[in-house]
């Protein structure tokens, strides 16, 4: 009887372990397949794949720098916009919002996170891009067109449009992680500042300066990880032109977008292999960024290990 139970327990544990092994195996398989399919391109181009900027399927010349550039610039732009807004609204919800307002605001932010990215892209093409073009890019281009960042003709689809749309998409994540970070501040410290006659703002400045900067940095990195891999929305508004230009008003291209656009058209093994290698570079980039975010946040927010 007892032995029988032990065998069943043993079998049950090993069965669940087997499934866990499968999940591990799938992850390794993903990595292995990406490497295997990239090999022809890695052999052919070596390091020049990420340092050159020619992308010419006809001549079979492939290099990823314009896409790497577009991914990084659009993501950093997004973070630049999203972090102040996300942290600001986290502070508002946690510290100032009346009780009845807290739940609705965070609920709406969660909804924002649940919208599929193709819908952001659709809205981006038909609503955001025209608004940005007519109300921001055109006037700025007219007044400040001599600044390299705003140079060139205004089309609409651009690095700026991609950055703004990405900012809208990653802000909910930065918001919710920032709220967790803010919640780790001991109540007594806030009360101490207030009891010394500090204003609310002084309390926030002092307490956040003391406690939350690393955590907010972690939230930022996490948002960056999201932005780097975002595909549909970026593909639909970035303009899809593989050039490296400083101007934010000009079209660009991102790594995820070139995979999305050209994968089905990739004739020839080397073309396909080059696209998979772009995927591999993107994969490694997001892994590094996500691990960094996790490393920072598990130190900052206790009990966050499982996220």
């Amino acid at each position: 009887m007892k032995v029988g139970a032990n065998i069943k327990d043993f079998l049950f544990e090993k069965t669940t372990a087997l499934f866990a092994l499968c999940v591990l195996g799938l992850t390794l398989l993903l990595f292995a397949l990406l490497i295997r399919e990239s090999l022809p391109a890695i052999r052919k181009f070596g390091v020049t794949f990420v340092t050159n900027s020619t992308w010419d399927p006809v001549l079979e010349e492939f290099a990823a720098l314009p896409f790497l550039y577009g991914t990084l610039v659009s993501s950093f732009l997004a973070i630049l916009i999203a972090v102040p807004l996300g942290v600001g609204s986290a502070i508002f919800i946690n510290e100032f919002a009346p009780g009845w307002l807290k739940t609705p605001i965070s609920f709406l932010a969660e909804l924002l996170a649940a919208i599929p990215s193709v819908i952001y892209g659709l809205w981006g093409i038909f609503v955001l891009v025209p608004i940005l073009r007519d109300n921001f890019m055109k006037p700025v281009s007219r007044a400040l067109g001599w600044i390299p960042l705003f140079q060139g003709p205004v089309y609409g689809p651009s690095m700026l449009a991609a950055g703004v749309l990405l900012a809208i998409m990653v802000v909910p994540f930065i918001l919710s992680v920032s709220r967790e970070v803010l919640a780790t501040v001991p109540q007594v410290q806030k009360e101490a500042v207030l009891s010394l006659g500090g204003t609310h703002w002084e309390m926030i400045r002092i307490v956040i300066g003391q406690h939350c900067i690393p955590g907010i940095f972690g939230a930022t990195i996490l948002g960056l990880g999201r932005a780097l891999g975002e595909t549909m929305a970026v593909t639909m508004v970035i303009g899809n032109r593989p050039d490296i230009v400083l101007s934010l008003f000009q079209p660009g291209y991102s790594m995820a977008a070139v995979i999305a656009n050209e994968f089905t058209e990739a004739t020839g093994d080397l073309y396909l292999s080059a696209l998979v290698e772009i995927g591999l570079v993107l994969f490694l980039l997001t892994i590094v960024v996500n691990l960094a975010a996790k490393w920072i946040l598990t130190r900052m927010v206790p009990g966050r290990a499982g996220r």
């Binding site: 069943k8 327990d9 049950f12 544990e13 669940t16 372990a17 499934f19 866990a20 092994l21 499968c22 999940v23 591990l24 799938l26 992850t27 390794l28 398989l29 993903l30 397949l33 990406l34 295997r36 102040p84 807004l85 996300g86 600001g88 609204s89 508002f92 510290e95 709406l108 924002l112 649940a114 919208i115 599929p116 193709v118 819908i119 892209g121 659709l122 809205w123 038909f126 609503v127 809208i168 204003t199 703002w201 990880g225 891999g229 975002e230 595909t231 549909m232 639909m236 995820a256 995979i259 999305a260 994968f263 998979v276 995927g279 993107l282 997001t286 892994i287 996500n290 996790k294 996220r307």
Partner: protein
């Protein structure tokens, strides 16, 4: 003296206003998006949208019925494979996961959760499309399963860990075998949470487009088999949106409304499920 007090008070007011403004700016796009969805999708929101096949440009009418069926098919396939794999892995990590092997699995799940969805499309392509030489529902579903699995593993593990140890000990003290305790007591106690996780993950993969672009590919007609290309709503929204035709743009908006309704219903049900348990 008074000027310093005034300045401090003014700064306080201004900063508070800025915080309020940032919260407003974060929420504003949500309202704009919902407004535009209804405004621009309204014209095409008819029954035929849900019951008809797509029609060529210029022909009025037509719908996304094949996409609705295809979305359900691909999502269903991904879940059929993903649920057992993810839930059992979650059980392993929560109930037995103390050793080095468990840490490695946890690390792999973490990595997988952060992988951009387009890369899982490459996974589906290399695994299915290359050897079979054709786009298929299987390829799309395996890409989606790779997104589904890490989300459900994490929520299952988290939910099982919220079950108090005393519940397990109570069952074991009554002489119930450990595997029975796990399956019929611990997992049942956490069931609402686990199902919530599954529904949220389902809502997530329902709206995925990128991993399906070169796996499921899309289809103008009814699906003919799981080894054939298959239409889904997100793919239809995408191809209508980037087309140059006005009436297709209308269809893109209407398709987006259908999609977002499915996502909203799922997330609302998921939330209600955990709320009633608490």
């Amino acid at each position: 003296m008074t000027s310093i007090a005034f300045r401090r008070k003014a700064t306080d007011r201004i900063m508070k206003a800025l915080f309020l403004l940032s919260a407003f700016l974060v929420i504003l796009p949500l309202f704009l998006i919902f407004f535009d969805l209804l405004w621009k999708g309204a014209k095409e929101l008819k029954w035929s949208l849900l019951t008809d096949l797509p029609r060529p440009v210029g022909e009025p009418g037509g719908g996304i019925a094949n996409g609705i069926l295809g979305t359900l098919t691909v999502t269903g396939l991904a879940m059929a494979g993903g649920i057992p794999l993810a839930v059992l892995t979650g059980i392993y990590l929560a109930e037995y996961g103390k050793g080095a092997f468990a840490s490695v699995v946890r690390f792999a799940v973490d990595l997988l959760a952060g992988v951009p969805s387009i890369i899982l499309g490459i996974f589906g392509y290399v695994l299915w499309v290359l050897p079979m030489k054709r786009f298929s529902a299987w390829a799309g579903a395996s890409a989606l399963a790779m997104i589904f699995i890490p989300i459900v593993v994490r929520t299952t593990e988290e939910m099982l860990k919220t079950v108090p140890v005393s519940v397990r000990e109570g069952a074991l003290a009554l002489g119930i075998e450990r595997w029975k305790t796990t399956l019929f007591i611990t997992v049942r106690t956490a069931a609402a949470g686990i199902i919530t996780g599954i529904l949220l993950a389902m809502a997530r993969i329902l709206g995925e487009t990128a991993p399906l672009l070169f796996t499921a590919l899309g289809n103008q007609f009814w699906q003919t088999g799981l080894d054939q290309p298959i239409a889904t709503i997100p793919l239809q929204v995408f191809s209508y949106a980037i087309s140059p035709y006005d009436d297709w743009h209308g269809k893109a908006w209407a398709g987006a409304v259908v999609l977002i309704l499915m996502v909203l219903v799922l997330s609302t049900v998921a939330r209600l499920l955990t709320r009633t348990r608490k």
